[in-house]
Every structure is written in structure tokens, then in C-alpha cells.
Symmetry: C2
């Protein structure tokens, strides 16, 4: 990757702030511009060194940028991309960090200016914490970033998107947008819904007896409500399919417990344990979320 | 607590081994005897210094012990207590570390020799790891230990049980055995069942996209199947009640998602988040389980 002139980050929360810090740490750009809606977030992003300049004016912020990364909550990503596609130069690469991809990619590709500049992306890193104060330069190191190019994606933009996300430390995977959403429904959206249901189910009077299983099983229920409401909405059908499968699994367990069938409980448990054993965590990053 | 002569630990896995290490670290006893069924576990417990002497003969191992702690899987705790009550001296305190309490306490209290010596206990500490090699001297430090005395519990044994468990670093809570089981169904048994159902629900093809929410949400699905099958069996009715409440919570979420009701999803999420905020973890112990 040649050194970039300007990188514009639209949305300077945990993800946008971490992109700014990573771009700076890697020396990838001469200038990092942050675009945000709230003056406090922009001030905080400046303070932690995630951006060099701040503005609440998207059009002004992305003008002249070589790369624009839209890191707003998913419900606002499409609008951000379409506005950036009009305000940035003809050569700009526009990419995003949205947790869902199909609705975003479809909407952008219906727009001639949008599809000319855009490559969908989802760096799978985050935490239940929010805001630029939680940002770190190594948030993306060794994490998977899914790119979701389609037949309409310009090859040169795809090549530049690959180089950009790799330069932040990501390991790239390319998937169809719908395939991305179906998989993330299982690996991220379902676990978030389950964690919140678990948190709601446990009576407060029992919490003094809660330990590690509760703590870890409910950790992501501390995540931001507006953020997750939008993700669930954008990925409704795949999420409902994932919930179906989860409900089926829990029903098998319940029925085995109800009839006192130890053998069936044991078989069910061991199958779950074998599934879990197929997961290989990236050991170098202990506290990431979605 | 006066220094004890002999502490006998029946079952030298993670819990029994950690009790031995804690007793040694605190200098609480002259001698620690480990009773186990498998020679390899006993050898490992000796090797890590959790016990001074090892035997596969329970009666021989507990003879002359001042304190006997039964740390076998829950399905074998009652038998261990009743045998120890006959083989240990008249003055011995017998306690246990079983994850469920009602069935154990009821069975022991039907036995005259059993109820004379016994105080039910559940130190809420553990991990998805098993065996004496995973034992640590500080496993119980600052953790809650629930004691479940009843009207039949001899006051002197209760006083000695309090002193013993406190000396291992535990914070004591006393509960009725059924109340203990109802609460642990929510704080531990339900989270384990949910973690396993989640692990089973996620297709293996999606695992390369899994990150922190999946990792933490399924962590305890790596726990031992025989152990958990027994816990679920011993605590069937409270577990089924906890599953009911969890299912209800998840159904509320599903229905809100199905009808595209963002406001209801948001309200549900924020309520879950508020519940989770009521949990205060013991920060000094990062990796404990049930």
C-alpha cells in the first residue's frame, strides 16, 4: 500500500477511533479526518490521537479523501456511503465497518455513484465498550475482516480495499453479503440475543451467587442498545433462522431433562462440547466482542 | 480456627485438589489425605502438592480425620458422606462441595450418623478445566461459599464448617438447601445449558467468523459432560423453571424482531442491560466457572 494522503473516518466511536489510531500507528496516511455528529466524541477522538482534524460536516470531511471508512451504527451506514460517494473525489475508495452487509450493499449498488466507489467490509472486532476513549491501535490485529465484493464491485477498488484492511492488521475473508449475514447471525447476533435473554432471566436476588458462567454468558448484554437494535433489524431473517436453531437445541436438552434421560443429556452435552472444540480463538486478543 | 490434625479430601479433582492446596498454603492442618478412585488422579494430586497421602480406600482415608470434605461429582456425594460418617471418628466434621444441595442434604439427614456430622456446602468456584493439575491454592479466595444448615444441623458442626470454609478465603452465605438450588439453577445451571445450546446451534462453517461474543457465550460448554449431566439431574425442577423463564425472555425478543418493532427490541435490550449491570464480579478472580 502506497502511503495515502487523507483517510476520512465517518463515525468516531470504538471502531472508527481504532481505525484512526491504527492508520496513525502504521503511518498509512498523511492526515486523518474524523466526521461525527457529536462534538464531544470528536473532541475525545482528537484527544486520544485517533484523528488529526474533526468536523461535523460529512461533505467537508470527506472532500479530498483517498479512503473513506463509514463506521456509524448500521442503520446510518448506507446514507453515509451515498453522501460520501458524492462528496469525495472520483478516485476515492469508500468502505465501511457495518456489522450487517446485505441491506447496505444492495442499497449502495442501486446507486450509480455509490457502487462505483464502494467495497463492503466488516472487521470482526469490537467490545461491549463504546466510544473513542475505548479505541486501540491494535483492535484489528489478527482479526478477521470480511469483504463482501459483488459482480458490480470495481476491481481496482477491491484491490485497494484489500490493501487498506490488511494494512490495519486484518486477516481477509471474502464472502457474498448474504452469506456474511447468515454466518454472523449465528456467530454474533444470536450470542448477543442469548446473552441478553440470560441476563433478563436471572432474578436479581440470585446475583450474589453468580460467578464465571453467568459473567461470561451475559457479558455482551452490556453492549449498546441502539447499536444492537439496528443490527437485529437489518439482519432480521437470518437472525430468526439462528434463533430457530438455538431453540431446537435447547428443546432437545429440556426434553431429555424432563424425562430424566441422563444418557440423552450426556450425548447432547458431548455434541455441544465437540462443536465448541472446533472454535479456535485468536489468543493474542483477549477481549473482543461482535 | 485451631490448627487441624488431618483433613481428608474425598475426590481430588479441581475442587478437591484446590482445597488441599489451600489447606496447605494456610497451614491449616498437619496432614492432608486424598481419597480417590483413580490412581492417576491421586498421583497427580500428590505431585502438585495438594495432598500428603493418597488412598483409594475411603474408609481408611477418612479414619482419624478432623474434617472430611467430599468433592466428588454430585451424584456420588451422598454416598461419600454416609460412608465417611461411619468411618471417621465421632468428632469429625463432614462437609462437601456439591453444586446442588437439596437431594444431598435430604438424603444425609435421613441417616442418623450422617446428620450428626454433616454441614452442606457449595464453594462457588471452578472452571471448565478439570483434574488436580488445574487446582490452585487461591481458587476460593473471595468467592462465595454457600452453607446450607437446617434445623437438624448440630450447632458445633456449623461453627466448625464456617471456620473451615472461611479459612480457605471464602465469603459465607447461608441458605436453605432448596433456596440454594433454585438460585444456582439460574446463576449457574441455566448459563451452562444455554452455552451448550449456543455451541450446538452455530454451524461449524461459520466458526471462522466467531469472535468474543461466541467465545464467552460458549466457554462453559467445554465443561465435563458427566459432571454436568449429574448436576442437571439432581436439580431438575429448578432447572426447568429457569429454562421456562429464559424461554419467555427470548420469546419476547423474537416476537419484537418478527414484527419489526424496534422500540420493543430496544426496551427489551435496555432491561437486560440493566439486569446485567446489577452483577458485581469479584475482580481479583478472572477465570472461574460454576
Amino acid at each position: 500500500l502506497d502511503r495515502l494522503g487523507t483517510v476520512a473516518v465517518v463515525g468516531v466511536g470504538l471502531i472508527g477511533g481504532s481505525i484512526g489510531l491504527a492508520v496513525r500507528a502504521q503511518g498509512l496516511a498523511h492526515r486523518i479526518v474524523g466526521v461525527g455528529r457529536r462534538a464531544e466524541s470528536l473532541a475525545e477522538a482528537l484527544r486520544v490521537g485517533a484523528i488529526d482534524e474533526a468536523t461535523t460536516d460529512l461533505e467537508k470531511g470527506v472532500a479530498g479523501a483517498d479512503v473513506v471508512v463509514v463506521c456509524t451504527p448500521v442503520g446510518e451506514v448506507t446514507t453515509g456511503i451515498l453522501r460520501a460517494a458524492r462528496a469525495a473525489g472520483d478516485e476515492a475508495l469508500i468502505t465501511d465497518a457495518g456489522s450487517t452487509k446485505r441491506t447496505i450493499v444492495e442499497a449502495v449498488e442501486r446507486d450509480r455513484q455509490g457502487r462505483r466507489a464502494f467495497v463492503g467490509a466488516h472487521p470482526i472486532a469490537g467490545s461491549e465498550r463504546t466510544g473513542p476513549a475505548a479505541a486501540t491501535a491494535d483492535l484489528f490485529r489478527a482479526r478477521v475482516c470480511v469483504l463482501t465484493p459483488t459482480q458490480l464491485t470495481p476491481p481496482d477498488r477491491l484491490a485497494r480495499a484489500r490493501a487498506f484492511w490488511e494494512s490495519l492488521g486484518c486477516r481477509l475473508i471474502e464472502l457474498d453479503p448474504s452469506d456474511h449475514d447468515a454466518k454472523l447471525a449465528f456467530t454474533s447476533h444470536l450470542p448477543h440475543a442469548v446473552a441478553a435473554a440470560l441476563a433478563s432471566a436471572v432474578p436479581s436476588a440470585a446475583l450474589e451467587l453468580a460467578a464465571g458462567a453467568y459473567r461470561d454468558g451475559t457479558r455482551v448484554a452490556a453492549s449498546d442498545g441502539a447499536l444492537w437494535t439496528a443490527i437485529f433489524r437489518e439482519n432480521r431473517a437470518p437472525l430468526l433462522a439462528a434463533l430457530d436453531r438455538f431453540d431446537e437445541q435447547l428443546a432437545v436438552f429440556r426434553q431429555a431433562v424432563e424425562r430424566g434421560d441422563d444418557e440423552a443429556v450426556r450425548v447432547w452435552w458431548d455434541a455441544a462440547r465437540a462443536c465448541r472444540a472446533g472454535f479456535r480463538d485468536r489468543p493474542e486478543r483477549p477481549a473482543v466482542s461482535d
